[in-house]
């Protein structure tokens, strides 16, 4: 029997209020997994079932060929992130999970921006690129492609300043994060 067993109508507002809550605190989870088929699906499926929205996701090899690292950022929901990390631990192929503190870690993502660049705009763009320590990786008569790496904030700031020039396309990877200091992440 579904709950609750009453026959009262449930308003859409009530329903939305019940599912729409987010705390807004961003979590960066760094997960070491066995490098086996289907592991990513298991992780992604678990997040979906528990009602967590994955914002960014990066998967890549590590110094050990049999182990991969999944780094993902999620918005903490009404339910504590604790429940998701415990459920993740139950996946047989998951070896280790860290919920990284933003202050104790170095975080990077990579972004590519294709921006319209004709006439005087071009030199302004090149100057902005220098300020943001980006690289111009492609130049044509009408556009440039700029590569920027850094934190979320930096990439968003760059996006803001180049948007007025005519942002043709933007691509961003997910975040990777490494703990500061000698210890392993």
């Amino acid at each position: 029997m579904g709950e609750p067993g009453t026959k009262e109508l449930l308003s859409l507002e009530e329903l939305n209020a019940a599912v729409g809550l987010r705390t807004g605190r961003k979590h960066v989870l760094s997960i070491l997994v066995e490098n086996k088929a289907g592991v990513l699906t298991r992780i992604a499926g678990l997040f979906a079932r528990r009602g967590f929205n994955i914002e960014t996701l990066t998967v890549g090899p590590t110094e050990d060929a049999e182990v991969s690292r999944v780094t993902l950022t999620v918005d903490g929901a009404v339910h504590p992130i604790d429940q998701v990390t415990k459920q993740l631990h139950k996946l047989v192929n998951v070896i280790k999970i860290r919920d990284l503190e933003p202050t104790g870690t170095v975080q990077r993502q990579l972004a590519l921006f294709k921006v319209a660049a004709e006439g005087g705009a071009r030199s302004e763009l090149l100057e902005l690129c220098r300020v943001f320590r980006g690289h111009v990786v492609d130049v044509t008569r009408r556009s440039v492609v700029v590569e920027i790496s850094g934190s979320d904030d930096k990439i968003e700031a760059f996006e803001q300043v180049v948007r007025p020039y005519g942002l043709i396309e933007m691509m961003r990877t997910g975040e990777i994060a490494m703990s500061r200091g000698r210890g392993e992440t």
């Binding site: 029997m1 067993g5 088929a37 079932r49 459920q87 139950k90 047989v92």
Partner: protein, 558 residues
């Protein structure tokens, strides 16, 4: 040797004595290996029946159940038993055939993405990609299924790989870096728990199916009787504490006793052991056990503080933790008299609100009376397997279970059709015991084909259908919460179960008179082979008492 022959060797090394299954195209090589493997195989009539039979076997024996099916529809028919095993933490290894590797992903005949479909409902699963993996994977699967919090593990074997010629060397050692269940409880936490128990004035022990899975029933009784701790069990935990013990409060939850539910409501300390604070236990969560602190002992850390925050969490195996907790508790020499007031209150509840029903004044059989009669006819000793619905709740209430693994049912998923095949599996696992299935006229039809399996293999289960001509639990909810609008719940008492039993090669009986019921049940039990009894009971009887959905335990009705 062929990979499938290696699979058979691995099964034998794991001590598998029976497999429930159904062959098909993609597992033809596997079935060829069964031909002379020397492992008993019970041919079921539907894969779901095979899956539930493996569950029943596992629940009755404590060993890992095994079910085989072919690819595509064979595998999708297993989805319900796999989910059921996941919800109730039943150790079962499912082995499915898959299309040849060259056909994978091409929508080949009888191809289904079995791994994808079952991913959310397995403890773990494997798609075999190389035949050399097979022996290791089989042993890993059994290890994962039976250890930690038990659960279903699925192995999907493409047809061509199962025919491969591989070198086979016995090796049962398992290395799983990401899978290391915590067994021993933290000693400091155990000492804290003992202190909390000693300080409590209104304690309750709340035990779930985890106690049965951990084989910790004796340890639970020893802990409870180290003082006069009142004990209640969930639907899944019944038999984990003897119903005959004076400290037994009865079942907890939606259809539990008032004494058990009121005790939780009034408790100052609740010691949860292998239980998960399911919504059928807590009722309205915000009003659940408002005065209590919680000790929570569970082997699965994800259960701790999932629904109710635990003050003293202890992760580990109940069988290891309970004796330590007991000796720590005894060492504190708590004052026994502190529980006098609490027991006075509990006894008052027990006296005022015993389980009760209004018996018929004529020969009509009340469903509760049927269960009492069954208890009498079996001396309370049978393994009782239930289906899902009102009959399940009445059986849980009125058959006093005194030992673990005596009560087998589908609790978490609530799978109608579980009963008959699970009883069949339990009977195969426990050939020397009496196995009785209680079903409803709705549930029984959902896997009745397994009566043929029972007849063919002389599996002598005794099935009692509580026939009220309704999908009774749904009817009850429609009566109580939906203004008596009975929408599509009348089954019209079809089919004729006596004739049907006969057609299947079983004995069919019909009981309609309560005056001779105990004798009639004894006669049915004495009849050799499988017996299906159509017991006509009161049509519109409700299961009481009840915590109405969304309400608190203290507001129980009926």
């Amino acid at each position: 040797m062929r990979a499938v022959d290696a699979v058979m060797e691995c099964l034998k090394a794991e001590g598998v004595d029976v497999v429930f299954g159904l062959p098909g195209g993609a597992n033809l090589p596997t079935y060829d290996a069964f031909y002379d493997a020397g492992i008993r195989h019970v041919l079921v009539r539907h894969e779901a029946g095979g899956g539930h039979a493996a569950e029943g076997y596992a629940k009755a024996t404590g060993r890992v159940g095994v079910a085989f099916a072919t690819s595509g529809p064979g595998a999708t028919n297993l989805v319900t038993p796999i989910t059921d095993a996941m919800m109730d933490s039943v150790p079962v290894v499912f082995v499915t055939g898959q299309v040849r590797t060259e056909l994978l992903g091409t929508d080949g005949f009888q191809e289904a993405d079995t791994i994808g479909i079952t991913m959310p409902v397995v403890k773990h699963s494997y798609l075999i990609q190389h035949p050399l993996e097979l022996p290791r994977v089989i042993h890993e699967a059994f290890h994962i299924a039976r250890t930690g919090r038990p659960g279903p593990v699925l192995i999907d074997i493409p047809q061509d790989l199962s025919r491969a010629d591989i070198p086979y060397e016995p090796c049962t050692e398992v290395t799983l870096p990401g899978y290391q269940p915590t067994i021993e409880g933290n000693h400091k936490q155990i000492r804290q728990a003992a202190k909390a128990l000693a300080a409590s004035r209104r304690p309750v022990i709340y035990a779930g199916g985890g106690v049965i899975n951990a084989n910790a029933a004796a340890e639970l009784t020893e802990l409870a009787t180290a003082d006069r701790f009142p004990v209640t069990c969930t639907l899944m935990g019944l038999g984990g504490f003897p119903a005959a013990n004076p400290q037994w409060l009865g079942m907890l939850g939606m259809h539990g006793t008032r004494a058990a539910n009121y005790a939780m409501d009034g408790a100052d300390l609740i010691c949860a052991i292998g239980a998960r604070f399911d919504d059928r236990i807590t009722g309205k969560l915000s009003e659940f056990a408002p005065h209590a602190k919680f000790i929570h002992i569970d082997i699965d850390p994800a259960e701790i503080s999932k629904n109710v925050p635990a003050h003293i969490p202890i992760v580990g195996d109940a069988k290891r933790i309970l004796p330590k907790l007991q000796s720590e508790y005894r060492a504190l020499a708590a004052d026994e008299a502190r529980l006098d007031e609490w027991w006075k209150q509990i006894d008052a509840w027990r006296e005022e609100y015993p389980l009760r029903y209004e018996d018929s004044s004529d020969s009509e059989i009340k469903p509760q009376f049927l269960i009492e009669a069954l208890y009498e006819a079996t001396g309370g000793e049978a393994i009782i397997v239930s289906d899902v619905g009102q009959h399940q709740m009445w059986t849980a209430q009125y058959y006093g279970f005194n030992r673990p693994r005596q009560w087998i049912n589908s609790g978490g998923l609530g799978t109608m059709g579980f009963g008959l095949p699970a009883a069949m599996g339990a009977q195969v696992g426990c050939p020397d015991q009496l196995v009785c299935a209680i079903s409803g006229d709705g549930s029984i039809q959902m896997n009745i084909q397994e009566l043929a399996t029972c007849a063919q293999n002389e599996i002598p289960v005794k099935v009692f259908i509580m026939n009220n001509g309704y999908l009774g639990m749904v009817r009850q909810w429609q009566e109580l919460f939906w203004d008596h609008r009975y929408s599509h719940v009348d089954t019209g008492s079809f089919p004729d179960f006596v004739k049907l039993a006969d057609a299947y090669g079983a004995t069919g009986l019909r009981f309609e008179d309560k005056t001779s019921l105990v004798e009639d049940i004894r006669a049915a039990i004495a009849t050799p082979g499988p017996v299906l009894v159509d017991v006509r009971v009161t049509r519109e009887e409700n299961t009481y008492p009840m915590i109405a959905p969304g309400h608190a335990a203290r507001d129980m009705v009926g």
